[in-house]
Chain length 133, copies 2
């Protein structure tokens, strides 16, 4: 199901000239390991803020929830996606590991490929949905 | 976040020769209206079983949860996606409206387009993820 945090990233209303129909893929690697918009948004927020708690706050998540999501990724991939960064202002925080950064990078490419490939079909779907409004 | 019900549809383990990496799109029409794998799986199950309760059962959902998901779609699109079918064996059940059927049809096309368009990038991601396992 769509998570609260990802909903916040859908910027436009359904009707109106500028309304966008956005595809956000969920990539399933197996029964216990998947990567979708919620987790990706969190990784991006951690990278942007340099901290799990600040990243969580930016998305309106509790620290506990954010940590749980990150831990699910760590366990699913068998390696950490976030690591502590020591020192600097505030005495250290968190940053993405090379794996975490690769997930964000590849997800962005997959997201763009999906959006482009499905454009015609999305327009058809949008026409069906808008009919009768 | 991935929902329990959708996880059940990811059939393969991460490692092993036959493991598949599957894309399941979530389509955001606006801040309060999105269509992802969980809702689509439910619509498919309702269509297959001819009943909301049987469809919910097939996915391991409570009736209440299934109804909530359907109602979210009804409200989001401003028209029902499921309707009562009267008569027949068991005294009637539920079926998809033309809108509900169109959502399932277009989603399948979008899902296939995404999977195909992202194939190369998915293979690259999979190589990153499998490294060190």
């Amino acid at each position: 199901m769509p998570s609260q945090m990802s909903k916040r990233r859908n910027p436009k209303p359904l009707s109106g000239a500028g309304a966008a129909t956005i595809i956000r893929p969920r990539i399933a690697f197996g029964p216990a390991c998947s990567l979708g918009p919620g987790k990706i948004d969190l990784l991006r927020a951690v990278a942007d803020t340099g901290s799990i708690s600040a990243g969580a706050r930016a998305l309106g998540l509790s620290y506990k929830r954010a940590w749980l999501l990150i831990d699910t990724l760590n366990r699913g991939f068998g390696r950490p996606v976030v690591e502590r960064s020591v020192g600097g202002r505030g005495g250290g925080g968190a940053r993405l590991t090379p794996l975490g950064a690769a997930l964000v990078r590849h997800y962005a490419a997959i997201e763009a490929a999906c959006q482009q490939a499905a454009a015609a079909e999305l327009a058809a779907l949008r026409a069906v949905v808008s009919k009768g409004r």
